[in-house]
């Protein structure tokens, strides 16, 4: 275990979580490299070797399209997330590259006060460490196959 690397990766995860929870969606694509990919799937599809994503973006342009659509096209009730990210395991995979596995819980809070354990699962990441730490690939594997009503804000 490299303590400095551990801190760098956990810091990236924490900044990512705070950006989403604070509704700074416009910052979200910046957590990825220019061609970074983001994929939400379910443990069931992953175990069956099935490629279907719940959400998939290849590169920052697609990530920005997702944000633009959430801001200007999609209709959903006002809501916020609270991310809890823990049990982060980090491995160095190159001079400027690392991989990470972490657990997450996401609570969804609606404007009427309803708080729901919306999603739990794992982040499986490939991270480019230079020039600054960013996700080359972030795979969000949800434990459950079921999603309540809709998934608007990214996990």
């Amino acid at each position: 275990m490299e303590p400095q690397l551990q801190l760098v990766v956990e810091h990236l995860h924490a900044r990512y979580a705070h950006a989403l929870d604070e509704d700074r969606l416009e910052d979200w694509p910046q957590f990825f490299t220019e061609n970074g990919t983001y994929r939400i799937t379910t443990a069931e599809n992953e175990e069956r070797g099935l490629p279907l994503p719940v959400l998939y973006a290849e590169g920052r342009a697609m990530l920005r399209d997702r944000v633009a659509s959430l801001r200007h096209a999609n209709i959903y009730e006002p809501q916020r997330y609270r991310h809890l990210v823990s049990s982060v395991l980090v491995e160095r995979t190159g001079e400027h590259a690392a991989s990470s596995r972490a657990n997450f819980l996401v609570v969804r809070i609606m404007q009427n006060g309803q708080s729901l354990l919306f999603a739990s699962g794992r982040y499986i990441d490939r991270i480019a460490l230079a020039p600054e730490p960013r996700y080359e690939e972030r795979v969000v594997i949800c434990d459950s196959r079921a999603f309540d009503t809709l998934l608007a804000i990214p996990l």
């Binding site: 939400i40 799937t41 379910t42 069931e44 599809n45 069956r48 099935l50 490629p51 279907l52 994503p53 719940v54 959400l55 998939y56 973006a57 290849e58 590169g59 342009a61 697609m62 920005r64 399209d65 997702r66 633009a68 659509s69 200007h72 096209a73 999609n74 209709i75 959903y76 009730e77 196959r145 079921a146 999603f147 309540d148 009503t149 809709l150 998934l151 608007a152």
Partner: protein, 408 residues
């Protein structure tokens, strides 16, 4: 609860239809376990002899199997003995199905083949010689497969599946299900509303381009584009389609619609490849949404293909089981296209995400108004096919069918 239908008839749907617990139970009897055919699974999910999947017909848990000779069967997932689930797994392969509770064993047709210690041990215990536990055996469904879609019904008197769906809609199924399928994956969207609100939404060709701004802003589907709707003779089933031509008119802009684009700051995708369609079905249709009563939807949205199964879970809760698929002979480019276009549908779908919200809004909105009714008059009061989608003709068909089943 008052159950009088408004005098206007087919153009009104009273809100108690989404709220009444007794009605929900009656629907289970009259529709789901009645004379309707329900979607069970794709044939592609039962690829080999002795494979099975578990599913639901309304509230009733069901096992669907392919036996050693390749024939399809479906039976209630309930042991004859004490009523426990016989099959716990979502899918798999099995030579026999043993209830975990007391090890009573069933074959692929749902026949009870052995009872553990039926004759007791050393002459003691066991079932009496004249015991007939088979009288409580799992109910067997009639099963039929149409172009790779498997359906079942408990009704001996229901017409054949093809006659049930009818000649207006069957060719529209065949159009999509033209080759052997490959399942790409599944997930469930849990909707906070009565199951009929979802079916009502699917059949509502009028809402699509008004609620789903993504559609309209990118001119994917506007009501000004060429398209139409087919409704089966009895009103039960529908199919709507839009042709591939991009709309260049500005009807939405002229009417100041919320979903309109604006010429000065036209909303454009940075990565429009997400939407690139290959005309794989060869008829220049970009979107086809097809529904069968009571709870099945088949969609083609560009190159995204899926079966959606509606599973009611109480008067104000519904599960939507999505199974997205491609064809066995898809090349890498087509598979990638389908994966990218998966972004259009499902709980996070650019297009589909709002349906759960809108139908939930109705469930909540009508909480205090069992005595009021929906106004369903777009396109008049007729039920039938046509070339306009500014109509609620298919919605009226749903309610005409529902009332026939419910005798209301």
């Amino acid at each position: 609860m008052q159950r009088e239908w408004p005098a206007e008839g087919v153009t009104r749907v009273p809100y108690w239809v989404y709220q009444d617990e007794d009605l929900y139970k009656e629907e289970q009897d009259r529709i789901w376990r009645g004379a309707a055919w329900s979607y069970l699974c794709l044939e592609a999910e039962l690829p080999e002899p002795q494979s099975f999947v578990t599913t639901f017909v309304g509230d009733m848990p069901v096992v669907v199997t392919r036996d050693a000779k390749g024939a399809l069967h479906a039976w209630e997932n309930r042991c004859a003995h004490r009523g426990a689930l016989v099959c716990m797994q979502a899918r798999g392969k099995a030579e026999r199905f043993a209830c975990i509770y007391h090890n009573w064993v069933y074959d692929h047709e749902g026949n009870l083949v052995t009872v553990a210690f039926r004759r007791g041990i050393a002459g003691k215990g066991g079932l009496p010689a004249d015991s007939k536990p088979e009288t409580q055996a799992p109910k067997k469904l009639r099963v039929a497969s149409l172009h790779g879609l498997v359906f079942g019904t408990l009704s001996a008197g229901a017409p054949s599946l093809e006659d049930y769906i009818g000649p207006d809609i069957v060719p529209r199924i065949q159009r999509v299900m033209k080759k052997p399928l490959k399942v790409l994956g599944t997930y469930t969207q849990v909707l906070p509303n009565n199951w009929k609100l979802y079916m009502d939404n699917v059949k509502d060709t009028y809402h699509a381009s008004l609620l789903h701004l993504f559609f309209t802003r990118f001119r994917i589907n506007r009501l000004t584009q060429k398209g139409g709707v087919f409704v089966s003779k009895d009103g039960a089933h529908h199919c709507t389609y839009t042709e591939m031509v991009e709309d260049t008119g500005d009807a939405y802009e002229k009417d100041g619609m919320r979903s309109a684009g604006s010429s000065s700051s036209q909303f454009q995708l940075e990565a429009p490849e997400l939407l690139e369609q290959v005309d794989e079905l060869g008829d220049r249709v970009s979107i086809q949404i097809l529904s069968l009563f009571p709870g099945f939807v088949l969609h083609q949205i560009r190159n995204s293909l899926a079966a959606r199964q509606v599973v009611p879970k109480g008067v104000d809760r519904t599960e939507l089981h999505w199974t997205l698929f491609g064809f066995v002979d898809d090349d890498a480019a087509m598979q990638r296209r389908r994966i990218l276009q998966a972004n259009l549908v499902g709980p996070a779908g650019y297009i589909s995400m709002e349906d759960g919200a809108a139908t939930g809004f109705v469930q909540r909105g009508v909480a205090g108004s069992a005595d009021r009714a929906s106004v369903i008059e777009m396109g008049g009061s007729t039920i039938g096919s046509g070339d306009s989608r500014v109509t609620e003709t298919a919605v009226r068909g749903l309610w005409q069918t529902w009332r026939r089943y419910m005798d209301l």
